[in-house]
């Protein structure tokens, strides 16, 4: 059964439409990330689910209950805010106990639950302190504790890691994933950080301009982006996108741009000859041999691999990724080719749809996500 369903949900602020006709169905126990650049409507979507904003039209259900007119406190949800929103005048224990108190849980029971939650999150030592006496990471855990203590049906997390330093963020990512596994609860996670979304989620809902662009597993979003926007947004360094022409000869398709002519794999029924866009992930740019010539512009050394930025004769820039030992000097001319099996073809326009036939994509061919657990 679906835990959360958005059905044709629309939200307008005056003349500005923040969310347009969102349809989204999140399964019980699933970890779903709402991912997109700022202003894409992801936080508005989460706030509507929390009951802090009301949809202009459409329906939101949690479990089998439509919650459009249900107050936030009655929705059986808990939320972690980006700013943590800890009550400054209350101690850590009082902060965690507050949702229980508001639900009329008896004092003794409350204390027991607060202690259990504090133990789970290693907060026992800090229960008597005020939020301002805590570090960022500790405040974050208290905010999490306040959400956990109630054992709600759905957890909502609004960029909870964005105020932490990089190392702590990596640590908390793993903590959250473990917590999700242990609790088995539905979690809806808003982020603009694709690394967080890719590493933690069961499925990612990519949003842009108030519209859902793609809702799929991280591997699929990476390997088979639904349109040009998703292709450009997911992946670091980003996919190289080249505008050109698509032509058809018999059953085979060819993409042409700037003197490059590349046979592309079988395309779907929505493909048509004419303007199109070719997308190539950095790991599918094969540097060293091939019919295409490029001049090395920049080599970024990250340690285990090198990111190479090249310029083609027509002025197109593209990014390649090679293992660390391989390197070139800026200004060098190299031969290169594309891995045609993994080339993506999109229709024209900023949100041009994917034209590849769905089965042609090799979903396993993706760099493994960075999941390192290091103590802060």
């Amino acid at each position: 059964m679906a835990a959360v369903v958005f059905s044709k949900v629309r939200k307008e602020f005056g003349s500005f439409t923040a969310v347009q006709g969102l349809d989204l169905s999140i399964d019980e126990g699933e970890f779903v990330s709402l991912l997109g650049p700022s202003g894409c409507g992801k936080t508005t979507t989460l706030r509507m689910l929390a009951g802090l904003e009301f949809p202009t039209s459409g329906e939101i259900s949690i479990g089998d209950r439509v919650v459009n007119d249900v107050a936030p406190g009655q929705r059986d949800i808990a939320m972690v805010f980006q700013s943590y929103a800890l009550y400054p005048h209350m101690s850590v224990a009082q902060n965690i106990a507050y949702p229980l108190k508001k639900r009329g849980v008896a004092s003794a029971e409350r204390t027991a639950q607060v202690n259990a939650t504090a133990e789970l999150l290693q907060l026992t030592e800090l229960l008597g302190r005020k939020p301002r006496q805590l570090s960022g990471g500790q405040q974050q855990r208290v905010a999490l504790g306040r959400a956990l203590v109630r054992d709600p049906k759905v957890f909502l997390l609004d960029e909870p890691l964005s105020n932490l330093d990089a190392k702590l963020r990596g640590y908390m990512r793993v903590e959250l994933v473990e917590l999700h596994r242990r609790l088995g609860r539905t979690m809806v996670y808003v982020t603009h950080d694709q690394l967080e979304a890719m590493t933690m989620s069961d499925r990612i809902a990519v949003m842009e301009g108030g519209e859902l662009q793609q809702f799929a597993a991280p591997t699929e979003v990476y390997a088979a982006p639904a349109n040009r926007f998703v292709a450009s947004f997911i992946g670091t360094p980003g996919m190289t996108l080249m505008d050109g022409e698509l032509s058809k000869a018999g059953a085979s398709w060819t993409f042409k741009a700037d003197g490059i002519s590349l046979p592309v794999g079988p395309l779907g029924d929505n493909a048509a000859a004419g303007p199109a866009c070719l997308g190539v992930r950095p790991e599918h740019v094969l540097i060293g041999e091939g019919p295409i010539k490029g001049i090395i512009q920049v080599v970024e050394k990250t340690g285990h691999e090198n990111i190479v930025v090249l310029e083609l004769s027509g002025g197109h820039r593209l990014t390649g990724r090679v293992p660390a030992p391989q390197s070139w000097n800026p200004g060098e001319t190299v031969s290169l080719s594309f891995d045609a099996d993994n080339a993506h073809v999109f229709g024209p326009g900023a949100k041009g749809p994917r034209l590849n036939r769905p089965t042609e994509t090799n979903v396993t061919d993706m760099p493994s996500p960075v999941l390192q657990k290091a103590l802060p």
């Binding site: 406190g73 808990a78 939320m79 507050y98």
Partner: protein
């Protein structure tokens, strides 16, 4: 050279402090001098004979305590009304989005564009018409009209500094809107409320003009007009009694100031930055 500068600055600063403090000191000294010592030349800096007879006289043989009670009721009631309306008003001006919100906030300040002398007669006629003249309540209304705009702006700048997320968190945690306001917003607003309350209390405690025009029965007179009426006439000023009354009038404010002054300066700071 820096030492000379430092000393010069200290002398200057202490000069100002003395200039401000001397009248207060003289008030205190005069109130405990017997009447015959008041106009002696050269004046005595400290009384040769200490006496509290003026205080006893005021308390036992005049209406002083009635006036004092009136002032306490008046100032407390005004403070409560202003803080209650101001807090809720500031909340709505900050949290709710409605058409004309900013215009409304500015319109409230219009009261300050008119000198109070201009407003006093219309207000008097209004209060007479609704049958409230000559009561303490009429002064509560009058003082509220000119304390509220400032209070509203002061509280608004405090309220704007409270993150909206705190309230959202309380709502998600199961509080009603009023519950969230009570549990989370009010404790955060406390410094603002205290400085607003202090400001309003001082304003109502010291006000003279409106009290003079709106109230002329002894049972409703506050301290300011009551004491003047009782001790200052065209032919005579009861200096000793006046000074004793002044000391007793100042005591509540001095006590309040001593405890709450840090809030007050913080309040004026907040008003200065955002208001």
């Amino acid at each position: 050279m820096p030492t000379v500068k430092k000393i010069a600055f200290n002398i200057f600063a202490w000069g100002i402090v003395l200039a401000v403090a001397f009248p207060l000191f003289w008030m205190l000294v005069t109130s405990v001098k017997p009447g015959f010592e008041l106009f002696r030349r050269p004046p005595t800096m400290l009384p040769e004979t200490w006496t509290f007879e003026h205080y006893w006289h005021l308390i036992q043989r005049t209406n002083f305590l009635t006036y004092f009670r009136n002032s306490v009721i008046l100032s407390t009631a005004t403070t409560l009304v202003v803080v209650a309306i101001g807090t809720l008003g500031a909340y709505s001006l900050v949290r709710f989005k409605f058409r004309g919100r900013e215009s409304l906030a500015f319109l409230v300040l219009f009261t300050y564009l008119l000198p109070s002398v201009v407003l006093i007669i219309p207000l008097y006629l209004l209060l007479v018409n609704i049958g409230l003249s000559n009561t303490i309540f009429s002064l509560v209304i009058a003082y509220t009209t000119f304390a509220l705009p400032y209070a509203l702006w002061l509280l608004r700048s405090f309220m704007a500094g409270i993150p909206e997320d705190l309230e959202s968190a309380a709502l998600v945690d199961g509080a009603s809107r009023l519950g969230a306001f009570w549990d989370v917003i009010l404790p955060q607003l406390l410094p603002g409320i205290i400085s607003t309350a202090l400001f309003t209390f001082i304003l109502s405690w010291n006000e003279y003009l409106y009290a003079l025009v709106l109230v002329n029965s002894d049972s409703a007179r506050p301290l300011t007009t009551g004491v003047m009426n009782m001790l200052v006439s065209s032919f005579n000023i009861e200096w000793s009694l006046l000074m004793a009354a002044s000391v007793m009038m100042s005591v509540p404010l001095i006590i309040a100031f001593a405890f709450l002054q840090s809030y007050l300066t913080r309040g004026f700071g907040a008003g200065g930055v955002k208001g």
